[in-house]
């Protein structure tokens, strides 16, 4: 079980590579530029990991994307929730 942290936009090669590496039990956290994934609810990774993929809310808010994410019904986490994820998942891999 791995927590994947993506820091780059959904159309980046980092994102493509991460999507190839996600396992069935894995979770995904989108931070920094990756929160632009909020704009595209049809992005493959939303379906790929449906229950275990999150946007970091403070990075959304900083970019003015919070209400769009909410409108699209996408799950968000506070920084505290980021830590909680790392408590659950022993391994993390950052894609940048």
């Amino acid at each position: 079980m791995i927590l994947h942290i993506l820091t780059k936009a959904p159309d980046s090669s980092a994102s493509t590579q991460m999507q190839q590496a996600i396992g069935d039990q894995d979770a995904v956290l989108l931070i920094e530029e990756a929160v632009t994934a909020a704009l595209d609810p049809s992005w493959a990774a939303w379906q790929q990991c449906h229950t275990r993929i999150f946007l970091l809310s403070e990075d959304l808010i900083a970019r003015g994307l919070a209400s769009i994410a909410a409108g699209n019904g996408l799950p968000t986490l506070e920084m505290d929730g980021f830590v909680a994820l790392t408590e659950q998942y022993e391994k993390t891999v950052t894609w940048y």
């Binding site: 590579q17 190839q20 590496a21 396992g23 891999v93």
Partner: protein, 121 residues
């Protein structure tokens, strides 16, 4: 196959365009020098590190090929290459150095699961 105590170093960047590859390889070499089993996974542009016809370092940089050749001296002999990425780059294994192992896209997540330690460059 991979052993659970082994370190997996993922290399995703090409030579010459940044220092990611060089510094990722350095991390792999140091781990191996300390006696840790190290496996490498080349994804995307990282595959460029394995082209056997690479020249010496452009723009005053050191070449990558001698370091790739040196891996066996550090007992790093598992070099995984993502097969899908190879195809998307229109490369064949004939263009790569000897001794690489191909891995299908759907097997990559399994490879990551098998390694207790992962460093992603």
């Amino acid at each position: 196959m991979a052993t659970p105590d082994a370190l997996l170093v993922i290399l995703r960047h090409a030579p010459h365009s940044s220092n990611w590859l060089r510094e990722g390889l350095d991390a792999a070499l140091v781990a191996a020098a300390f006696g840790q089993p190290v496996h490498l996974l080349f994804m995307g542009q990282g595959i460029m590190a394995l082209l056997k016809e690479q020249g010496s370092g452009a723009l005053g940089q050191k070449a990558t090929l001698p370091t790739i050749d040196m891996l066996e001296m550090y007992d790093i002999d598992k070099l995984w290459v993502a097969e899908g990425a190879l195809q998307r780059m229109h490369l064949s294994t004939d263009s790569l150095v000897d001794g690489v192992s191909l891995i299908e896209d759907q097997e990559i997540s399994g490879l990551l699961q098998q390694h207790a330690k992962i460093l992603n460059f």
